[in-house]
């Protein structure tokens, strides 16, 4: 500012001087020219100084050209290194690739830092180039070590450990820990099927069921029957836990208080039970009629089946459709007394019709079940009623 004022003053003086100079000798002309040259010199000096000042204050890192130059150089280096690494043997060069990935990341960071001064076009070009580099690196990594992708260790390692344990225990003892995977499920099933087969063999002769000798002496399984009628009276069934599985066109009477009841895979069957102290668990039933009194009733994967229930809690259904519900009727002489003992003497709250459908969590009525109209409700067959009271 000060300088400019001085220059202006000089101009004013010159203008004021001019008439005087013109009046003076022609040598004045030389003086003016000299002065002009001097001023030109001054001007270039100030611009130079200004430029210099500008350069001092400006961040040298913000130079677009310098950045692009450096970027191109690093990019070329990385590309060369990557193609060299990709050409290597599989399994080798993992360390180099990791180092390269790190370098790419560094370059990415450099570009990110430069975003605020780079022109939009250059920035876009740089980003594109980086993406290509990244892709190249990943392709090289995949080619060299196809399986070694990033994964959390715990998940990958956990299934292996039991496997090792199982393998080692297998060699030491035959009934050691179960192996993981399919073998794990096979052993318990074997345990169950063995008694089941024994029983079905006995069933063919129409004999009443007896608990399997081995393993569980109290639980009983009725399994694999076709078109049979089975009546179990109090002596056979009282206080036991029963499993009925894989039955077709059978009629089963369990006319005594039971501890627990499992029904699996019943097709076109009719089942009448005494009161179950615990829970009744139905999984897979179709075209059947089941008459059950229990503390809890769970029904899974059933279709087109009528349930006559007396329950102390809400019966629930899951993955089922076409179910109909009706109240339980005592199935045998003396049933009322057994019901009373289990606290199932009456169903004042009409729980049998308060079904919870886990597959229908809405306020509206579930389409999967209905109340069986009274006119269609079946009576307990006479076979049960004819049974002598215990």
């Amino acid at each position: 500012m000060v300088k400019r004022e001085q220059q202006q003053q000089a101009c004013v003086i010159e203008v004021l001087d001019a008439p005087v100079a013109a009046a003076a000798a022609g040598s004045e002309r030389e003086r003016v020219l000299g002065r002009l040259a001097e001023r030109e010199e001054q001007r270039t000096a100030t611009t130079a100084r200004r430029l210099e000042e500008l350069e001092v204050t400006a961040d040298p890192r913000e130079s677009v050209d310098a950045f692009l130059e450096e970027f191109a150089e690093r990019r070329q280096q990385l590309e060369a290194a990557l193609s060299a690494a990709a050409a290597g043997e599989p399994g080798s060069g993992t360390a180099e690739l990791t180092a390269l990935a790190k370098q790419i990341a560094d370059l990415e960071k450099a570009v990110a830092d430069a975003t605020y001064f780079l022109p939009a076009y250059d920035l876009r070009q740089a980003t594109l180039a980086l993406a290509a580099l990244r892709e190249q690196q990943e392709a090289a990594a995949a080619a060299l070590q196809p399986r070694k992708r990033f994964a959390f260790n715990r998940k990958a390692a956990a299934p292996k450990e039991p496997e090792g344990d199982a393998a080692s225990s297998d060699t030491t003892s035959s009934n050691g820990a179960l192996a993981t995977g399919p073998p794990a499920s096979s052993q318990p099933q074997q345990d169950m099927q063995l008694p089941a087969e024994q029983q079905s063999a006995g069933q063919q002769q129409g004999a009443a069921i007896s608990g399997p000798d081995s393993g569980n002496s109290q639980g009983s399984t009725i399994s694999g029957l076709r078109g049979q009628v089975l009546i179990l009276s109090r002596e056979d069934a009282a206080g036991k836990e029963f499993t009925l599985s894989d039955l077709e066109e059978c009629t089963i009477y369990l006319l005594a208080p039971l501890a627990a009841l499992f029904l699996h895979g019943l097709r076109r069957c009719r089942v009448y039970t005494g009161p179950v102290a615990g829970a009744c668990f139905v999984e897979g039933a179709s075209d059947s009629t089941l008459m059950i009194a229990a503390r809890q009733v769970r029904i899974h994967s059933a279709a087109a089946t009528d349930f006559y229930l007396r329950v102390r809690s809400h019966p629930i259904i899951e993955h089922s459709a076409g179910l109909r519900f009706a109240p339980y009727a005592p199935a045998y002489p003396g049933a009322q007394r057994d019901l009373e003992e289990q606290g199932l003497a009456e169903d004042g709250a009409a729980m049998w019709r308060q079904v919870n459908d886990f597959g229908w969590l809405r306020a509206t009525c579930s389409p999967h079940w209905t109340v069986l109209p009274e006119s269609e409700r079946a009576a307990v067959p006479a076979a049960a009623a004819a049974l002598p009271a215990a």
């Binding site: 820990a177 993981t180 109290q218 836990e241 627990a260 899951e318």
Partner: protein, 184 residues
């Protein structure tokens, strides 16, 4: 370390333990909760959703989360994993048929990162029913001995007559407390 320290301090003040009670349906989870809190268990419906029970036990406040075990509800278990101090896995000892299912579901649960630090208690429930599998048999079927890096225990119990419940919860609370409340 700093954050962990703060969390410990906060928990210490509250003396709270969060227990997650899971297992297959029909295992007796809700009945166990009702039993230990002294409520009538005879009218328990299968759990649609979850129950929370807060209990005082051994100077600690137990927050017991009892989550329904029906197949349709199992995908929601994950919503309850956060901040669980102790995992209680309830097994129906009379249900031989689904023991493999049970082992599989437990296996899946134990792979959960958020449950990695939780103490595991297996309750072999329904021991009152004649013919129920022993705790030993369940321990084998669930392959508990092959568990690595986890504090676990198995207890034979019956929610109906109450046997085994106390010792199970006692062990759980002791184990969690010794882990979390180091400063006491």
């Amino acid at each position: 370390m700093g954050l962990l320290h703060i969390i410990r301090k906060v928990k210490c003040k509250e003396h709270e333990i969060r227990l997650l009670l899971v297992g297959l349906d029909n295992a007796g989870k809700t009945t166990i909760v009702k039993r230990i809190s002294g409520e009538d268990a005879s009218t328990v419906s299968p759990t649609l959703g979850f129950n929370i029970k807060t209990l005082e036990f051994g100077g600690y406040q137990l927050n017991v989360w009892d989550v329904g075990g029906q197949k349709t509800l199992r995908p929601y278990w994950r919503n309850y994993f956060e901040q669980t101090d102790g995992l209680v896995w309830v097994v129906d000892s009379t249900d031989r048929r689904r023991l493999a299912d049970c082992a599989e579901e437990l296996g899946k649960l134990l792979l959960e990162e958020r449950l990695a630090g939780a103490t595991l208690l297996i309750m072999a429930n329904k021991q009152d029913v004649p013919g129920a599998l022993s705790a030993e048999a369940i321990r084998e079927a669930l392959q508990l001995d092959s568990l690595v890096g986890r504090q676990w225990s198995i207890v034979a119990c019956s929610a109906v007559n109450g046997s085994g419940l106390l010792e199970g919860f006692q062990w759980m609370v002791q184990d969690v407390a010794s882990r979390i409340y180091l400063l006491d």
